[in-house]
């Protein structure tokens, strides 16, 4: 066999690839939080926004003295949007001594982490780990699959639907609704909640279509739009996010579909750009725990600060609540022991980022907070902030008080013996 110099070059390259060393994380006296979300591949755009938000928040808190005199440090772990990899990275974080995990993208991964952390804590008493969920909204996480070690700051998808339908209740122009959702657990949760709640609140409204399409696989939504069009719907409810939202709206605009859109994630990365392109002025509504243009002073300050540093708006007001409450809980517990942090967080009341009071419900570890319905379109003087440099911005359409977002839970919380 004859090997050219190329073969030998490759040999040398292979040798070089091996001695990469594991980096050591920074100073030891910090309160480390493992941020486990996609930082490479398709989901990275979302994960990076989250990471920067958390780093910004840590810096913000550290500037105010941290907690118990210690600084916060965010350590990033790339879960590559893969459940196995998520657990490997969580394990890696735990093995390097980190005991607070935060993650948000994907209920599947959230469920995996929650399950893993719960089992881990059972098997490793005294070395408990706590998991903060800032964006995974599958209701099951605070219902049948609830865990003492899991805390959720985002409103779950049922609560969001509750808020949306409360708002839609009074919109008399809604006659025919079309549901289009991604075919996976979150999409399923959105559609079943929508069907149940609409039936309850607006029995006169007709659901003319109930579509489930495959997750992140559709490149052209034109066929779906043709179907919506044919159904005669005047409003569409969708939980779509990411490209599934952007492409859906784009196809709708192409076909000249004139409906209102009630969405969960219109504000997600790329969403505003797509809406602006379609020209759907204040016809796309989104539900969330906060928007930039509420006119609440402290929030505006924060918004300005984060925009000055990064070229994105604050997409995760809930992350602000999470980090600030963590700081408060540590101060309250006078400890960074996860067990004690968890106990301190249970039932904690807190002034949320956009004003008003929120509460970490002890029964299921679901944060209860005011929710806002907002529409996206041209701005007036009252809306100083635009999105993704489109010139358009969010405008408040309706506020749902925290008390009205409370839903019963099936959670039977089992707490650690203390």
């Amino acid at each position: 066999m004859k090997f050219g110099w190329h073969a030998k070059l490759a040999g040398a390259l292979a040798l070089v690839a091996i001695p990469f060393v594991v980096p050591v994380s920074g100073a030891d006296d910090t309160i480390k939080i493992a941020y486990v979300d996609p930082l490479s591949g398709g989901g990275a755009s979302i994960g990076e926004v989250g990471l920067k938000t958390f780093q910004f928040l840590a810096d913000d808190l550290n500037a105010k003295g941290g907690a118990l005199g210690r600084k916060f440090e965010i350590v990033a772990y790339d879960n590559k949007l893969n459940a196995q990899e998520t657990l490997v990275q969580v394990q890696k974080a735990i093995d390097s001594g980190i005991r607070i995990i935060t993650q948000g993208n994907g209920s599947a991964f959230a469920a995996a982490i929650s399950d893993f952390v719960t089992k881990y804590n059972e098997r490793n008493l005294g070395k408990e780990v706590i998991y903060f969920n800032y964006a995974a909204v599958d209701p099951v996480l605070t219902n049948d699959k609830c865990s003492f070690w899991h805390f959720r700051w985002d409103a779950n998808s049922d609560q969001k639907m509750q808020a949306l339908t409360n708002y839609m209740k009074d919109r008399k122009n809604i006659k025919k609704i079309y549901l289009i959702n991604q075919d996976y657990s979150f999409g399923q949760a959105v559609r079943s909640a929508a069907v149940a709640m609409l039936k309850d609140k607006r029995p006169d409204v007709e659901i003319v279509g109930d579509e489930m399409h495959p997750l992140l696989k559709i490149t052209d939504f034109a066929p779906y739009i043709a179907k919506i069009k044919a159904s005669g719907a005047d409003s569409v409810i969708t939980g779509n996010w990411g490209q599934d939202f952007a492409l859906l709206v784009k196809a709708a605009a192409d076909a000249g579909l004139q409906t209102d859109w009630y969405t969960y994630y219109a504000g997600g990365t790329g969403g505003p750009t797509a809406i602006k392109q379609t020209g759907l002025n204040h016809r796309v509504f989104a539900v969330g725990e906060g928007i930039p243009n509420l006119g609440y002073g402290p929030a505006d300050e924060f918004e300005k600060a984060i925009r000055a540093k990064y070229n994105f708006s604050l997409f995760y007001p809930r992350a602000v609540n999470e980090m600030r409450m963590l700081q408060a809980a540590i101060e309250k517990a006078k400890s960074t022991e996860p067990t004690k942090i968890g106990a301190a967080l249970e039932g904690m009341k807190f002034n949320v980022y956009d004003g008003g009071e929120g509460m970490m419900r002890a029964d299921d570890h679901q944060f209860i907070q005011p929710l806002y319905i907002s529409s996206f379109g041209e701005r007036s003087a009252k809306e100083p902030f635009d999105e993704e440099s489109t010139g358009w911005g969010w405008k408040l359409a309706g506020k749902i008080e925290a008390a009205n977002t409370v839903l019963p839970t099936t959670c039977k919380m089992s707490r650690p013996a203390s």
Binding site: G42, A44, S45, A226, A230, L247, K250, D254, G256, G270
Partner: protein, 316 residues
Amino acid sequence: MLELVLVSTLNGVLYGMLLFLMASGLTLIFSMMGVLNFAHASFYMLGAFFGFQISQLVGFWPGLILAPILAGFIGALIERYGLRNVHRHGHVAELLFTFGLAFVIEEIVQMIWGKLPRDYRIPPSLDFSAFTIFSTNYPAYKMFMLLFAIGIFVALLLVLTRTRVGLIIQASLTHPHMVGMLGHNVPRIFMLVFGLGCALAAVAGVIAGPALVTQSNMAALLGPILFVVVVIGGLGSLSGAFIASLLIGLLQTFAVAVNLSISDIFGVFGIHTNPLPFLSDIWRVTVAQIAPIMPYLLLVLILVFRPTGLMGTRDT
């Protein structure tokens, strides 16, 4: 209902033509070189991003010309300095080379343009609705895409049947070893064909970019479907690729419009209980839900019953 059928047909044909633009390049490359270029969809993506970048600087129309040339040039370079070296290690190595290439191109695109969708706009001159069927607007740009794709198809057909280059290419479709014997510079033809194939994919990217999404995962989304098209059509058959493209375009579009499930079908015969309790989902899933996996189902069926594909003559 008629409206849905008409719009679906138009959309299906459009999607099919888009697929064909890419599949034609892939088929050409496969016919000549025996390489199933896994990175073909990556050149589609490169086309879209080059088109986007050029449209930012000088506008959409120059991009339509320049981006494919650029992508074709890169393709030719990759053939010359990459694929050609791998060639002697056999087809598996070539396939794997393009497999890795797809990986690398995606990463590089992410490095340059980021992971977010880019705002690649339809040129203002085409940003209106061409006509209205019943109440649905049909955008002029989609009409343009359709006509453009058909135009390319016709041009390709003419080149292949009327020119000397075309005859050489056709000769190598059926007798890959003969062309070399006839004294043609086979490596150079390979390089040109590879470049041309990539340029064709890039054309598809430039025109599809504004209509669909221009994002770093667009190649991964479309890539597998592309293989389905060329395999169903019959590896190495242009007309097969054409038929398969339309077939899949229409199949996917129409499947979306159908809300039937197996239980509905059985319901017609008065059967209402699920005979397979363990897999109750199969019972409930509608045709619309499985629309995107239909091509794969079709692929498996075709290969089981007609292993050479619809129009294929060559046994792979």
